[in-house]
């Protein structure tokens, strides 16, 4: 069966401002020294010999996405959305396109902004997931928590042993109290946002659980594949009409929380959702004082510890400080206490309001 990775690359990555900006969000940046996040995402899918890689993103980021695809010798398509309408719309768009291309295919849907340490184990888990998806199951990868994180959604397992586990429920981001309970119970996984299913199976689920979505996308599914992927006049108008009308719903909420025959496969491959400046620490090696920077020559630390520096054009010297992050990009400099990482959104909002 044809394997079709669908990479969701439409996010804004506001909490990684100022590196991540509207014109170049985080997935197009090299944060880990191993290439851009999108490039790394593509690379780690290649061992599965994908028939075609689909990237769903905004029109503004179509060219950037194509450039990432062109780094590899693999067929690929960029599908541009007229406006962000959450993951249900993005994945329905990709599924309709995949269904036109191939009679039988398995989609691997995943975000473009994850970091994975053990790519071999990641491949092994995805192969298992494909085997499960071939049995018409909706498969997701659950990450075994290593600490009580409050920034992720969780999946509650019905039984927590075995390589394939029935899902009891999807759970919202918890407060720290609940996060601790989840972590200690051993019955919860972090929701990775990675889904594996037959294209035909997920289209069935849209018909059943999100019929308004399916109906909204009808004009697109009537087109031929070239037109579906096109941003030319008529095709774009059709897409605009759909995206103006369709509700903004996540695939988790719209399908996974309510579907039957859904399973979670536990994954333990060093997964990090690169959501905030603090999270980047987990993927960068530290010097003996705990200081980090992807470009060592452009960060100088004197009497500093546990500090991180990310810089686009300048050299940064940090003197006599602890636990801060310094980011320079696009004529903006952010200097922030690491434990205030979640406040970055506020700064961006303050600026937009000015």
């Amino acid at each position: 069966m044809n394997v079709i990775p669908v990479i969701l690359a439409g996010g804004a990555g506001t909490r990684l401002w100022p590196l991540s900006r509207d014109d170049k969000p985080k997935q197009f940046h090299n944060l880990s020294c191993g290439g851009t996040l999108l490039e790394e995402t593509i690379k780690r899918l290649l061992p599965l010999s994908p028939e075609q890689i689909i990237i769903v993103t905004s029109r503004m980021h179509g060219d950037l996405s194509r450039k990432e695809l062109e780094k590899f010798n693999v067929p690929g398509t960029v599908l541009s959305e007229p406006r962000p309408r959450n993951t249900a719309a993005a994945l329905l768009y990709a599924a309709l396109y995949a269904a036109k291309l191939f009679k039988n295919s398995i989609m691997i849907s995943l975000p473009a902004d994850h970091h994975i340490r053990d790519n071999d184990e990641f491949t092994r888990i995805l192969r298992e997931a494909i085997r499960q998806a071939e049995k018409d199951r909706l498969v997701t990868i659950g990450i075994k928590p290593t600490y009580p994180e409050t920034g992720y959604g969780y999946i509650r397992a019905r039984n927590a042993d075995g390589p394939v586990i029935t899902i009891d429920a999807f759970v919202e981001k918890p407060d720290i109290e609940r996060a601790r309970q989840y972590f200690e119970s051993g019955k919860y996984f972090w929701n990775s946002g990675i889904f594996i299913w037959k294209t035909s199976v997920v289209l069935d689920q849209f018909r059943k659980l999100l019929p308004a979505h399916e109906k909204a996308f009808e004009p697109l599914s009537a087109l031929d594949p070239r037109e579906i992927a096109s941003n030319d006049g008529r095709a774009w108008e059709v897409k605009r009409g759909i995206y103006d009308a369709v509700e903004s719903i996540s695939i988790d909420y719209g399908i996974m929380e309510r579907a039957e025959n859904r399973v979670v496969i536990p994954g333990d491959f060093g997964w990090t959702d690169l959501g905030s400046w603090k999270s980047i620490d987990e993927i960068l090696p530290a010097d003996p004082d705990g200081n980090r920077s992807p470009e060592k020559a452009r960060a100088i630390f004197l009497n500093a510890n546990n500090c991180s520096v990310f810089t686009e054009n300048c050299r940064v010297s940090v003197v006599g400080l602890s636990n801060i992050v310094v980011v320079e990009a696009g004529r903006e400099i952010l200097v922030i206490d690491k434990d205030s990482s979640q406040e970055v959104k506020k700064i961006v909002e303050m600026m937009k309001n000015k």
Copy 2:
């Protein structure tokens, strides 16, 4: 008698890196929002109706200095030194030039990097100093200490009352213990580095106390004024010979510490030696949280207090931090704990060694 201010603008200002750099040291920067430090220094001398303003600096900074002079409708000359040889050489050079121009003149010698809050009082004190200098005295301005500073030299007074006080001794920068004693005794003043004397009187002192200096400069004093100020072939060669030979001695050490008939006039006009990033705080207004920046629109503070931002090209956002300074200039960013201000020199040395 002709009043000739001599502004010493040859300093490197390393502790104000990265704003202050070899190609543009601190005196050519606008730190207080009131113009560059050199510009402010010139401006506050104008009420004394100077006959001529002399700026002594390096050849590299001649053009920058001339540009500052040209902002004002006052005769001025820039004297370029082939290499820095401390204040005795610089002031002897200026004195020789002034003596050629005017038969009788009073020099007001002062650094280019001070900030003075009350310019009227400054003028009043200088007028008093000129009156004292007319009596063939070597006059310096002593600043009444407002706290036990360890970064300044001190002047011990023989008697600490009256507008004109005999000097007992010049004292080196003290440790904090001594600084406290000095501060509490009421008999010490900060050494401002501002000197007022007749040109003829200081030349006499050179003859008496620094005869090697006087001898070294003989080839220059043989030239006409235009040549003395020139950097053309022959004149430059003459200066190079002198500056290669002459010892690096401060005017304090070479003349003032050993001269007779020296007096200090207490000054209380809101004086700050802008030597370190911490010192700049004293001249910038703070917002209610104690945050400061000369350009408010380019500094954003969120949950921050007692932080200062200086920026050349970028906007800076400081989040969740206290008591830090952020400086961006010339593709360098410095993020430093305020109380580590004196460490900046080390950073600059580290970079030069790399």
